[in-house]
Structure formats: structure tokens, C-alpha cells
Symmetry: C2
Subunit: 461 residues, 2 copies
């Protein structure tokens, strides 16, 4: 019976596959980079196309305007009030593409090589959004209806901090109300082993500006006199962590919740440093030396300098002492750390450590995300775990994720739903980097996992 | 008699002033940025114009091709073998112009505001080159000839390290042979107080590359696992200097020659920190705390990070752990430090301090400049000091310069001449920075100092 259900779903998927990939390529071609204001028209065009696509599937659609990019909302409620409602979250915006010259094929011209689709957003998150839509198409084609009520919320600012969606959530509680919330923006650790993600880290970001003189200075005439703001910047940033990799800011770990032994046992914390090095070309030597790499990424907060700039960094050489130097810093947080409180600790530390002769100004960005940990006992976890097991023919493991989806906590609260995080991204998909890719085979697997999960949620009801 | 000579020179200058400024603007409009390969055609066009200008004045000219940009050489030897030969050095190339949006008028459209000419190269070194040429024009107009033999060497790669000129010097010893060499690329400390520069620091530059993983990584999925190369970079750079501002590399000061008390007394080492702060908006807190600011700039070596880059530094935010991070580092050296030896010490120190998990590669650039200190007792020093005194109506002081002209040592050796360094740049001319400028009044003063110095060198012969 189960196998039959899955087989039926697969048959329909394969029948439609060619058209689906064509549609996916259309979706990928939109240059929907949310963090760069100049791409606004392309982001809007992508939102419009997406809304039309969902409407054609049979959903009622709404476009929620925000101060930033619009949110696409879709709703199908004809399963009736006796059936549960599943809210599914995705995003249609993507990361910037630089360094552009490292892409083997242009980031917005999707190209298949060795069964992988290469494009910005191929995985994060257009790929994962698209197999959700295909899953719903399959179910509509199979029965002419869905077994439960389904809502879709697809935002356009995830890569920019989700401020737009966050700001309208209080006014959209009615529309969003659901029993379960599935955040489909995550990954599994190997291609053959399915996993459900029970938690993500929180995030908060900030800009650091160091100012010395009022204009750039000649480094010969002023070297030894002026305090170079690049020197000041490297000095204060190097103080963020001690020699053991621990964050060296007083009080930073005060709110960190330790997991119980039982909770820790539920997780698959095994890690192969050799495999990591082969995959990424770098050793897993970052973070606190006293924890294993997965503990450091899942259960411990981390601080990263995501960008640094100052002076002349182009071809040739410019003997300058710049007036200013800049850095972009992010924190990843674990329960029960508060994003703004943690960021202020870091900002105060950096500002306080400014050497005499330069000023340090840290701007903490609003819209940080709180860490989230889900419970392993709910129906929604069971349904997705069972669907994964059927599709992958092996039991589903429970993992955590070091990355952050800032909007998760807010969305769970606004929709009053139980939250589950999942996805079939892989660690080497190169999301946020040149040559991002997603497997053609995973479009199929994702469509089957989602459609089968929805069937099982209908069965459980 | 002296006053009459100067008056005569001034009368001729003023008669020609309008045309001179027009010619100067033509010179400034050439975008002769030597460090950026894409500007090659503009550099060549500038060289061609300059050569024609000098030829028209009555000089025999040669264009010396190099692997980089050409050197313009001019010679007028009709004063005869009994008269001395003065070789004057300038350069026609300029620094890059970024950040472009901080220029109040475009860098290659010279604009006069409040008696100052704003343009890239207005001072460094087109302005100082141009008043040399005007001085010669005045002398030709006054007597139809020059009182001594004069040679001009004007290169096009000073801002890029002078590799081209350096490489052809061994084959041009005959042409360059002179009694005196005047390097006209320097400055004085206040507008009313003339000065001759008895020494400059040496320089050597290098590129630092830190590599972690083979591609950029997501800072959520890898934060706490991967060693961020930006972290490694700020950590190793922050180790270059200790808390007292001293360079913390073992052996770095071993070769530094201390000045004798007599030599130190000859120099004007007074320094006003308040004035410095008002002028540049930053405190003079860089370098070794145990020396006063001018000692630190003139008599002590310094290390500066001139550029740093890594990750995403544009608008918005990108949560990336980059594969690589870069820095550009320069050293300023004093007698008897050797550029390549000093650079290797720094390079080895940075490479040796690479944290486990990242690799650090330092590329030391060839073509560094050795430090130079001139003697205060030669005829050429006396002639220029006297001319300065006549034009500025106050005695000339002897100073040093923290900046470097890498070619100076090589040129002095090749031409077998006694070297003097001078110029009328001012500390707030914003050379190498946006809004570089040079006073219209200084075009006149410079022309008079140079022409009068040449007359005096003729009188002394």
C-alpha cells in the first residue's frame, strides 16, 4: 500500500519531469538578488512569475507588499476544517554572485553538467521551493485535490535578513494560521542518508567601521605617525577569539543552554575530518578546540568576519594609509542567546578596544534570528521521517544545522504552529559561493518526500 | 645683484604665466596611472606629449623604452665641458584615483578653487615636474641659453616601483652622467618655510594571501568548523607590531643605523601634535611610542598594511567564509636596512605564524628602494638652499622625508652624481588621495627656485 502510493506519485512526477525542469530553469533565470538594491526589478519580476505559477496550480494567491521585496502567499483550504493545515516556507531570493569569474557557467544561465544543475539559487532556495511546488502538482494530478489544507509562504528577502516578512507577520496571523510549519531550506549530510533538522542556530550581523584621519594619507609621509585604521581593525578583530578558539568577550557564553545527555544522544554527532578536508579543501580547525566540529557548528555559538576591506586592494600597489577600514561580522547563536543582546556585547567589546587615535563604530543590524530547536515527537516529524524513509529506503536521522533562518521563530509564533525544518541540500552544493548546484535526481526525491509527507499527514488526521 | 636676478626671472615667469597654466592643464588631463595596466594607452600619450614639450624648449630628447612605461630623457649640453651638469629627476605617472566618489571635481579635469589646482598629479609629480620645465623656459628666454649643462630624466613608473627605469640604468650611464642629481619629488612642512631634504626612507612591498577552503563557504553551515582565512589574516597581521608600536619581528631592527648627535642636531625635529590633528583629523599615535612622531617617520622603519580584502564587503550582507583573504603590506626602511632582506624577515614571520588549517603565502615584490641620506656640505645643497632663501626670504631648513623614491639610489649610482632631494609639496596636498591639489602660487615659487638654483650653480663653477 505504502509502496503503491509512492510508486503512483513517482509515475506522475516522471511523466511531468521534462516540463518541470523547463519551468525550474525559468525560475532560476530571474536575477533575484535581494541584498543589492540595483536588482529590485529582477526580484519583482521573479515574484510575479512565481505568483502566477502557484495560481495556475489551483492556489488562491496574495502578494504581500513590504518595505523591501514582496511575499508570495498561497492557500488551498478545500480539505475542510477537519483536516490539518500545513504551512510551507521557502524563499525566492538568492545570494549575490561575486566573484563572478569563478563561475564555470553564468550564474543565471542554468546549465546541467553530470546530472547537476548549476545556477545561483539552484539549491538555496529556488531548488527546494520548486520541488515543493512539484509535490503539490503531483497530488493535484493524482486526486484532483490535496489530502490536507496547505499554505505556502515564499518570501523574497531571506538572504537580506527577512525584515519585510517579519514586519508584516503581526497583521497576517489569520492568513498564516496552521497546525504545522515546514521550513524547507535545509540539508542532509550525505546523498543517501535522509535527515530531519531539529534545530538551527540564531544569527545577528553587524558592520564595523574604523576611522583614523579624515582623508587617505600617503604611507611614506605618514607611516610611523598616523595610526593606520587597518592596523586598528586587525587588532580588535583578532581579539574576538582566544588561542583556543573560544570567543574572548566577557559574558558571551553566559546564556548558552547546554543540551541534556538524552537530547545529545538523539543527534548524529559523528564527524569525519578527512572527508571534510577532501570535500572542502580546508581542515576543520575553526572554533573552540575543546569541542568536536559538529558540536562547534550545532551546539556552540560562533563569530565570523564575513567581509573586510580597507585601502587599495586592486591590481598593483598603492602606498596609502586609508582614512577608514571596514568589516562585516556575524554571530551564530544557540539557545538561549538573544541576538541583539549578544551583538551589543560584541559591539561594545570592539568599540572599547579601539586604540588611541582611531574611532571604532559598530552598527548592529536589526532583524536577527533566534535559535530554534524542535521536538522529535510530533505528527509532523513522524510524517516527514516516514516519507524520507520510504523515498530513501533507509531510516531518517535527526540532526541540527549551524546556519540560520532568521524568520523561523517569528513565523512559528505568528502561525501558532509546530515547526519542522528540512531540506535535501548537500554540504558541497556551494550555496552562497560560485558554481552553486543541485541534482536533477534531487528534484525528484524532494517532490516525492513532500508529496508523500502530505499524504501521510492526511492519513494521520 | 641677487635681487635683480630673481626679479628678472620673476618678470619672465609672470609674462608667460597664463600660457604655462594652460600647458599644465594639458599635462594633468592625461590619465597616466602607471599601476593599472588598462591605462597603458593614456600613459603613452602623456609621455609623447611631454617629450614634444621638452624638445620644443630646445632640448635634445630621447624616449627610452622599458618593459613597462617609457622614460623621457632630455639633454642640453651647450654650456660646455667647463660647466657642471645637473641631472633633474621627475615622473609623469600618477596614482590611481579611487575612491572616485570622494573627489569634489573629476581627477583628470583640473579645476582651480581658492588658488589651488585640483587634479590627480597636481602635486605628485606633474606639478613639480612642470615648474622645473618652466624654470628652464625662463632661463632660455632670459639669456637664450642655460648657465650650466642640464639633463632631465622623467620616468613613467614611479608609483609602480620604477622597475623600467631601474632595469635600463646600467645601459644609460653615459647619457645620465652628471655632477649633481636633483630629485624634485618632495615637500616642505609649511608654506612659508623652505627646506631641503637630506634623506628619504627605503621601501619594499609585498602581497599576502591566506587560503582556507578551496571555495567560499556558508558561514552558518561552516562557522565553528572551518578556519576563516580572514580570521587568520587579522591574527597574523596583528602580530606584526607589539603594544608599544614596535615591529615585533625578531631581528627586524638589527641593521638600523642610529644617527650621531651632530647629524640629529642638523635636523628640524620639532612636531606639533595639535596642528597635525587639525590638519589630518587623526592623532599622531601610530608607530613606536618611545620616539617622537618625526623621529618615527624619518629615522625609524615602519610597517603598514596598505590594503586588505576578503569575503563580501559590498552593500548588504553576505554570510560567507571566503576561500581566500588578501593584504598588501609595505615597509619603510632607514639606513642601513636592505629592502629584500627586511621583506624576507616579514614574509617568513607571517608564513610561520599561519594557524593550522590555513596556508599563508607572501609574495615579496622586486624593485624596492634603498634609504638615502645626502651630505649637507656640497655645492648643490648650497645653491638650492640659497635660491630657496632668496625666493622665500627666510633661511632654508634641513629635513628628512618618511616617504620613498625607490629609484633614487640607483639613479645616483648610475649618474655618478651627488644627490639632493627637494620639492615644494605640502603635507596637506592630499597626494595619493582624493582631491589632490597644488597652489598656483607654488608653480611660480618652484619655477623661481629652480631657475635661480641653476644660475647659482653656474656662478659657483
Amino acid at each position: 500500500m505504502t509502496q503503491t502510493s509512492l510508486d503512483n506519485l513517482k509515475k506522475i512526477y516522471l511523466k511531468n519531469q521534462k516540463e518541470a525542469i523547463q519551468d525550474f530553469f525559468t525560475f532560476l533565470k530571474y536575477e533575484s538578488i535581494s541584498t543589492e538594491p540595483s536588482y529590485k526589478p529582477q526580484v519583482l519580476a521573479c515574484a510575479k512569475w512565481l505568483s502566477g505559477y502557484i495560481k495556475q496550480m489551483g492556489f488562491q494567491t496574495e502578494t504581500w507588499e513590504t518595505k523591501g521585496h514582496p511575499v508570495i502567499f498561497g492557500s488551498w483550504s478545500k480539505a475542510g476544517p477537519d483536516k490539518p493545515t500545513l504551512l510551507i516556507y521557502n524563499h525566492y531570493d538568492v545570494q549575490p554572485v561575486d566573484p563572478l569569474d569563478e563561475w564555470k557557467s553564468p550564474p543565471f544561465e542554468p546549465t546541467i553538467r553530470n546530472g547537476e544543475i548549476f545556477a545561483r539559487g539552484a539549491q538555496d532556495n529556488k531548488g527546494q521551493c520548486f520541488y515543493v511546488l512539484q509535490a503539490l502538482k503531483i497530488l493535484f494530478e493524482k486526486e484532483g485535490r490535496l489530502p490536507i489544507n496547505v499554505k505556502l509562504v515564499i518570501e523574497g528577502e531571506e538572504e537580506a535578513g527577512s525584515a519585510g516578512l517579519a514586519s508584516i507577520l503581526p497583521s497576517k496571523k489569520m492568513e498564516l494560521k496552521a497546525d504545522y510549519l515546514a521550513i524547507v531550506d535545509l540539508g542532509i549530510r550525505t546523498p543517501t542518508k535522509p535527515a530531519l533538522t531539529l534545530g538551527i542556530r540564531g544569527i545577528v550581523t553587524m558592520d564595523v567601521e574604523v576611522q583614523g584621519s579624515k582623508t587617505d594619507l600617503h604611507s611614506g609621509s605618514h607611516g610611523g605617525i598616523a595610526y593606520n585604521p587597518i592596523h586598528a581593525l586587525v587588532e580588535i578583530l583578532s581579539k574576538l577569539r582566544d588561542a583556543s578558539g573560544k570567543i574572548a568577550i566577557p559574558g558571551f557564553y553566559d546564556d548558552v543552554a547546554e543540551l541534556s545527555k538524552a537530547e545529545r544522544k538523539e543527534l548524529s554527532l559523528d564527524f569525519d575530518p578527512k572527508q571534510y578536508e577532501e570535500m572542502f579543501g580546508g581542515k576543520p580547525t575553526g572554533g573552540e578546540k575543546s569541542f568536536n566540529p559538529l558540536e562547534r557548528n550545532w551546539l556552540r555559538p560562533s563569530v565570523e568576519v564575513n567581509g573586510i576591506s580597507g585601502g587599495y586592494a586592486g591590481a598593483g600597489f598603492k602606498t596609502v594609509i586609508p582614512a577608514k577600514a571596514h568589516a562585516k561580522v556575524s554571530l551564530r547563536l544557540v539557545p538561549n542567546q538573544d541576538p541583539q543582546k549578544s551583538a551589543r556585547l560584541v559591539a561594545n567589546f570592539l568599540e572599547k578596544n579601539a586604540p588611541d587615535g582611531v574611532s571604532v563604530k559598530v552598527t548592529v543590524h536589526p532583524g536577527g534570528g533566534k535559535p530554534v530547536h524542535a521536538k522529535a515527537s510530533s505528527k509532523v516529524v513522524k510524517a516527514f521521517a516516514e516519507a524520507f524513509k520510504e523515498v530513501y529506503k533507509t531510516p531518517c536521522e535527526f540532526i541540527l544545522e549551524g546556519a540560520s533562518i532568521p524568520i523561523v521563530t517569528e513565523l512559528a509564533l505568528a502561525s501558532q504552529s509546530e515547526v519542522i525544518l528540512l531540506g535535501i541540500g548537500l554540504p558541497d552544493d556551494l550555496i552562497h559561493a560560485p558554481n552553486e548546484h543541485f541534482g536533477v535526481d534531487r528534484l525528484e526525491k524532494g517532490s516525492l518526500v513532500i508529496s508523500r509527507s502530505i499524504e501521510l499527514l492526511g492519513d494521520y488526521a
